[in-house]
């Protein structure tokens, strides 16, 4: 293959200087006269010189790439939210002089504990894991010899640093808000054994009930997905008795906007209007929040801040491996829309 690469050597030869001088001039280091520096820069531009990052990487032993691993199940047409977060991360990385490499983790690779190529081939200096992975895979990641951080989930049994939205407090606030609007019979929708987020949101909901002396009713905890994360048909309490609204909750705390969206469809199909008959709140403030009719009152997750902390941390950790972050909780923000009715 023909290559017409311009290197520092070429510039040096043309000017009768050494590559050392060219290197110093191009990176604005001391030890070259201003005059020569200018001449070198001009010639470089004129010759179409491009800096070879690979050589630098070789020298430093650092690729200046950060890997972002996302489990495939979180990247479908309907759930492209993490891809938007990835975009954000890649932008922030670039501003910091790094580049992101996306690695989609298939269900199969996750199950078979397949080591990601980006790690096995030393493609990256650090890893951001975006989206809950299995226990086994967490352990695999933990043994990897580079800085890593979990984003949007954590694991209580490993000490990998994690950045999550304040799920607990968010659901707590949302439930408090429903109660302030006069609701007392409030359901929670989500499989509370499937991810740490869903579980923590559930606990926040529960805390709010406790504080208001409302007894937790297990019949009002409605699962939304199987253990593999696949959505299942929602079962309304008393769904076999469509005409007994007195047994229905007056409000639903959904673990995410998409489920809130699906729940509303289900409620409508059973003859319940939202928010007239039932109030519904979501979580995430993603695209489903404004696709739903009515638009959802929900908890906005501050992904920009979360991404920004993740990027800053992972880069800092490359130069200071002893850095510890622990578990960072990023506060969300209630967005008031039209899915909650005041029943006082």
């Amino acid at each position: 293959m023909m290559k017409n690469n311009i290197t520092m050597r070429d510039i040096a030869n043309k000017l009768g200087v050494s590559t050392v001088t060219v290197s110093k001039a191009l990176s604005d280091k001391e030890g070259v006269s201003d005059e020569l520096k200018l001449k070198i820069k001009q010639l470089a531009a004129q010759m179409g010189y491009r800096y070879n990052t690979t050589a630098k990487a070789m020298k430093e032993g650092l690729s200046h790439n950060i890997g972002v691993i996302i489990p495939e199940r979180f990247t479908g047409l309907a759930q492209s939210f993490y891809l938007i977060v990835y975009k954000q991360i890649s932008l922030l990385l670039e501003q910091a002089g790094y580049f992101g490499i996306l690695s989609i983790l298939s269900d199969q690779d996750e199950e078979q504990l397949q080591i990601p190529k980006i790690y096995a081939e030393k493609k990256v200096d650090g890893l951001i894991i975006l989206g809950q992975i299995s226990k086994g895979y967490i352990q695999l990641v933990q043994e990897m010899d580079l800085p890593k951080v979990f984003l949007d989930f954590y694991d209580e049994h490993s000490d990998i640093d994690a950045i999550v939205t304040d799920n607990f407090y968010g659901a707590y606030e949302l439930t408090n808000y429903l109660i302030s609007q006069g609701h007392t019979k409030i359901a929670y929708v989500g499989n509370i054994n499937s991810t740490s987020s869903i579980q923590d949101r559930y606990l926040g909901y529960y805390k709010s009930l406790l504080e208001h002396n409302i007894k937790l009713d297990e019949n009002l905890v409605i699962s939304d997905r199987d253990e593999r994360g696949k959505y299942i048909e929602l079962e309304l309490p008393n769904s076999d008795l469509p005409n007994s609204p007195q047994n229905m909750p007056t409000a639903f705390v959904c673990n995410c906007d998409q489920i809130a969206y699906l729940l509303i469809q289900k409620l409508n199909s059973k003859g319940y209007a939202v928010p007239k008959d039932c109030s519904v709140v979501g979580f995430d403030n993603d695209i489903y929040a404004t696709i739903a009719t009515p638009h959802l009152t929900t908890m906005e997750v501050n992904f920009e801040q979360m991404s920004s902390i993740a990027v800053k941390y992972i880069i800092d950790k490359i130069s200071s491996p002893s850095l510890k972050l622990g578990r960072v909780l990023v506060q969300g923000n209630i967005i008031h829309r039209d899915s909650v009715q005041n029943v006082k």
Copy 2:
């Protein structure tokens, strides 16, 4: 910074052989006895050796990265479709031994003809440009010294290879279908000067009209966005006369599903029901197709095939720079749903 890197040197030293032998053994090359080869592989695994791609990249002058440039305006919450395509591309690249680096092109960088970092720093061996860029930027890309391909748009004035869906034929088919259902007064929705896709879809619509001896009515060509791509309020024909349905088209060919979705809302707000009063077809089969009520009859774009051609081509082109692809048209596929009424 402490580094505990295992290199081929370390393995070689432990075994009292040369790095050449280790290199050959690990990459299954000839010239090492099977016995020694096995011993080397075992020791490598045991020592936790990871292959250093950067060294290989240095040697070959090839990074084994492919850059994917997406203009920022195509990556919003509501339009994350290209990010899903990016995911697909990154998966295909990984299968082929490459990695994708996403580079989001901001409006500002596009306007100021800022050279992408991934190019200036020789981070990538090839470039996939996903989504229409400005004329000026096309020229900048054209001058770049590496293989590149346009995905989902093309430019008639440059000879960069391009892979697009068959917009022309797709809109032609969709319009034919509407006519077969008895429609004759058919509008087109889209700014026909904004992108090659919208323009070609318009021309396909027009060809169908011509073939059926239906006169093109310029009042039925409705713009949907300004020259910067920002959506504008849709103006229905005769929208000032809400009660004169006799002047309304009975069908609308929309340049994309999102606009079809917005159009339906607009129609509803003016008192027109879809598909009872007006039929609507979309294009893309993206998330808006099933968010809309009714669900849209639309043209499914075969992005999997398009991505796969793009990846294959760019990789082939790295080893055979003289390769030419021209403009590849990938056929779409009509998806029949509920937004078209037979009016015969």
